[in-house]
């Protein structure tokens, strides 16, 4: 089966199954003991906590473009990256809990001075997804998730470069959070909801939470032979 075919059929499956009511409740993904017994969620059965149905369709489609299934190695959808992002929105990151968020704000200062928006990341997502949706409707007559892959890629590239501008949120910042969180969800320990079955670690050869290598230090230029382990207790 060609990768394009595989990709298309899987996307159709996920899109269809979104309409179904999830049968399982997903754990918080942060408790060591509780999560260990729970298998990873199925993306098609997952009911997002933060994102609504429209937003979720965008997240699924965008993640699929950022880390597609094409070629070797898993894509963002097989590894539950959207679930990771949804859970991050409800946590300290989404709420900017640890950040200094007192005004006055000067969002137009040089980007060298870092994050200067009054918006918490979850609000950047909410506004960014809505504005991207309006852009797609206005220019392409349908929502982002309904566009073909090439058009989606083109729009994401324009967001990344700031070529599409929004009134109420920085398109570049929105894209930057989306890409950062997608890569985090791909490579982080499965305890955080993504990296299902440690598939990205197996793909690159990272042993995860093994954290003990004394006998391997001096074995030079030899690929480490053991598969990864996760904080969930899963072994690969």
């Amino acid at each position: 089966m060609s990768s394009e075919l595989k990709n298309a059929s899987r996307r159709g499956f996920i899109k269809g199954s979104l309409m179904m009511i999830p049968a399982v409740t997903v754990g918080s993904g942060v408790s060591l003991t509780a999560a260990a017994a729970e298998p990873p969620a199925n993306l098609d059965a997952y009911q997002p906590t933060f994102f609504d149905a429209d937003e979720w369709r965008f997240i699924l489609a965008a993640c699929d473009r950022l880390i597609p299934s094409d070629g070797e190695g898993p894509g963002a959808l097989e590894t539950n990256v959207p679930i990771f992002i949804d859970q991050q929105m409800e946590g300290k990151f989404g709420h900017a809990t640890d950040w200094y968020m007192k005004g006055p704000f000067h969002p137009d200062v040089s980007p060298l001075f870092g994050y200067q928006s009054p918006l918490a990341p979850r609000d950047v997502y909410r506004k960014g997804i809505a504005a991207t949706g309006r852009h797609c409707q206005d220019n392409h007559g349908k929502g982002f998730a309904a566009l073909d892959a090439d058009t989606q890629t083109q729009i994401l590239t324009q967001l990344e470069k700031g070529e599409i501008e929004f009134d109420d949120v920085s398109s570049g910042q929105f894209f930057a959070f989306l890409l950062q969180n997608t890569k985090e969800g791909y490579f982080a320990d499965p305890i955080h909801g993504g990296n299902k079955h440690m598939a990205s670690w197996k793909f690159i050869g990272f042993p995860g939470a093994r954290a003990s290598y004394l006998e391997w230090v001096e074995q030079h230029n030899k690929a480490y032979p053991l598969g990864p382990v996760s904080l969930t207790g899963e072994r690969g």
Partner: protein
């Protein structure tokens, strides 16, 4: 109304490396000692225990052990006429949070300064002439010599349990160590760590080039070790979760593993976590401190009377507290008058990433201070007159971790996302090594710290404001290092490599992590008109307030600061014990 605690002899502000040491030294004198730590209490067990530490997202990316900007941060600007905006989320530097401070989450690179670096201004003037120093540069001498500090470097290395190889034992050059280092009275307490593939490639290449490679002096135990306080370190297992993490294996030297277990046994020592000092209280004449005011874990204001106040917070927080307490005259960059906040400096770093298609580096096998280094391009080796800059660097080939969210170097031209990104990730991961340049940063008239006029913290206190940018002198230094590292990179014959160094159009960027080596602002020196502290780290203006830490550096050395910070702390402790306590008052007459 504020509650008033019973009097203690000594109050310690902060409980990281410096005040853990001060706790031992002051309790040795039989004094009652109370440490106030702003952040939470934390120890190897349960806080750093396996497996939860092996979590890149929580600790490496979301900074679980670091200062929360929501609670404490500063504002940043490039120049004295610019608007400063808050450092809202962490990036460029990562101050620690909680007991142990940054000493819990560091890598453990433990250096002594070069003797010349402690008297840099005099060294430059004597060797190259005073016109070598650019007009706007503000370098000074520390006011203390290497020879005076040597016994204290030695003892700190024994307490911290440093693994390394001496290069200069009492003036005799030793094979396998750093031939350019200042003299050492003793060998390191532990032999060097095991060598990884990148170490050996770099070592062999450098030796072929006629350079002098040696193992990084490491605060990661290479064998079982018991320090002078009876604290035990276990051999490092190269877990690959070191910088930004607490050590899960009792192997990384930290206040917890090396000092606090012994200190907590002492009946005349107590500490309180989640207690943030608001200011040092002064007597009505302003010449002595009466103690401190802090906010306790319940949010209540508490007055803590004490005879002696020792600041050992992070360098930036020491300066902030001095400014908030009215100790010393704040620095004014226009008039050049005042001292508190002057000479803030950072670290000028750069590096190369080398890709080898057919080599397996297993980058997840690493320790924080696992590296092969060379010092052939150090401050003491360079003709500043000829080179056209003042400064120097050490080079290192380090393999500290292969955690994939942050440690994913990709070749030139690789896209940031999409199918080709994924392909580049697979082809590159595990096949790269780096060569870093870790360089000095001089101090300048317009790089300084003061109180921000606009932004405040949760207690309504003004945030501190940092005014800082890169200067041509230091860019010339790093461009010099770039040429050397380009040659060394080519000599390793990688399939591809890329260089990343500051250039003349580079401005200070708070976003990418650079280093948590923020120095200066409460500098030591020989004269109260040009320094905050005398040579014993005692404030010139308030004799019972001493300030530890890298805030005392008048400019930044080419090395990581902790070795010098540790040596200075024992030096100050000796002066307090032998000179100050018998006869309290200024230890140096102004």
């Amino acid at each position: 109304m504020a509650k008033t605690n019973p009097h203690v002899d000594v109050v310690l502000i902060g409980l990281g490396w410096t005040n853990s040491i001060m706790g031992m030294e002051m309790t040795d004198e039989g004094l009652s000692v109370l440490a106030l730590e702003r952040g939470p209490d934390q120890d190897t067990v349960p806080d750093f225990a396996y497996p939860k530490m092996a979590d890149e997202l929580t600790y490496g990316v979301r900074y679980q052990l670091m200062q929360r900007p929501a609670k404490s941060t500063l504002t940043v600007r490039h120049g004295v006429r610019d608007l400063a905006v808050p450092y809202r989320s962490l990036g460029s530097f990562l101050p620690g949070n909680g007991v142990g401070g940054a000493g819990t989450h560091w890598n453990g690179h433990t250096w002594r300064p070069q003797p010349q670096e402690l008297r840099l201004k005099s060294y430059v003037e004597e060797t190259f002439g005073s016109d070598t120093i650019p007009e706007e540069m503000a370098i000074q001498d520390f006011g203390i010599s290497y020879d005076e500090l040597e016994p204290h470097f030695d003892f700190f290395e024994k307490v911290a349990g440093i693994a390394g190889k001496a290069g200069n034992l009492n003036g005799e050059i030793q094979e396998g160590g750093n031939p350019f280092e200042g003299w050492r009275s003793d060998e390191y307490p532990m032999p060097p760590m095991k060598r990884t593939l990148n170490d050996t490639l770099f070592r062999d290449m450098a030796a072929e080039q006629g350079l002098h490679p040696f193992p990084m002096p490491a605060a990661n135990a290479s064998e079982a070790y018991t320090n002078p306080y009876g604290m035990q370190l276990a051999p490092c297992n190269y877990c690959g979760f070191c910088e930004r993490y607490g050590c899960l294996n009792y192997s990384k030297s930290s206040p917890q593993t090396c000092v606090l277990g012994a200190l907590k046994q002492r009946k005349n020592f107590a500490y309180r976590a989640n207690c943030e000092v608001m200011k040092v209280n002064l007597a009505s004449d302003g010449k002595t401190a009466t103690g401190v005011t802090y906010i306790d874990e319940n949010g209540d204001e508490v007055i803590q009377p004490a005879d002696l106040v020792i600041m050992g917070a992070y360098s930036l927080h020491n300066v902030h507290l001095l400014l908030l307490s009215g100790i010393g005259k704040p620095y004014d960059p226009i008039s050049g008058e005042g001292v508190v906040g002057k000479n803030y400096a950072y670290q000028m770093n750069g590096g190369a990433t080398l890709y080898f298609k057919d080599k397996e580096f297993n980058p997840f096998i690493g320790a924080g201070a696992n590296a092969e280094v060379l010092n052939d391009f150090g401050v003491e080796q360079i003709d500043f007159g000829q080179a056209g800059f003042i400064g120097g660097s050490y080079f290192s080939a380090a393999m500290t971790n292969g955690q994939p969210i942050r440690n994913m170097p990709l070749p030139k031209g690789a896209p940031n996302w999409g199918a080709q990104w994924k392909q580049a990730v697979q082809e590159t991961y595990g096949h790269t090594m780096t060569i870093g340049s870790h360089g000095s940063n001089m101090s300048y008239r317009d790089c300084y710290l003061d109180l921000d006029p606009t932004y405040t913290d949760d207690h309504g206190r003004p945030l501190m404001r940092m005014t800082f940018n890169w200067k041509d002198n230091d860019v010339r230094m790093t461009q010099f290092m770039k040429q050397k590292i380009d040659i060394l990179s080519k000599a390793l014959k990688p399939d591809d490599y890329k260089l990343s160094f500051k250039d003349f159009d580079s401005q200070y960027d708070v976003r990418p992590y650079q280093t948590t080596h923020n120095v200066g602002g409460a500098i030591m020196g020989t004269d109260p008109t040009s320094s905050v502290l005398n040579r014993y780290l005692q404030t010139w203006d308030v004799h019972n307030v001493f300030v530890m830490g890298a805030s005392a550096f008048p400019q930044n050395i080419q090395y990581n600061p902790t070795g010098l910070v540790g040596g200075l702390t024992y030096w100050a402790a000796k002066a307090i014990r032998e000179q100050y306590l018998p006869n309290p008052g200024p230890l140096v007459q102004a």
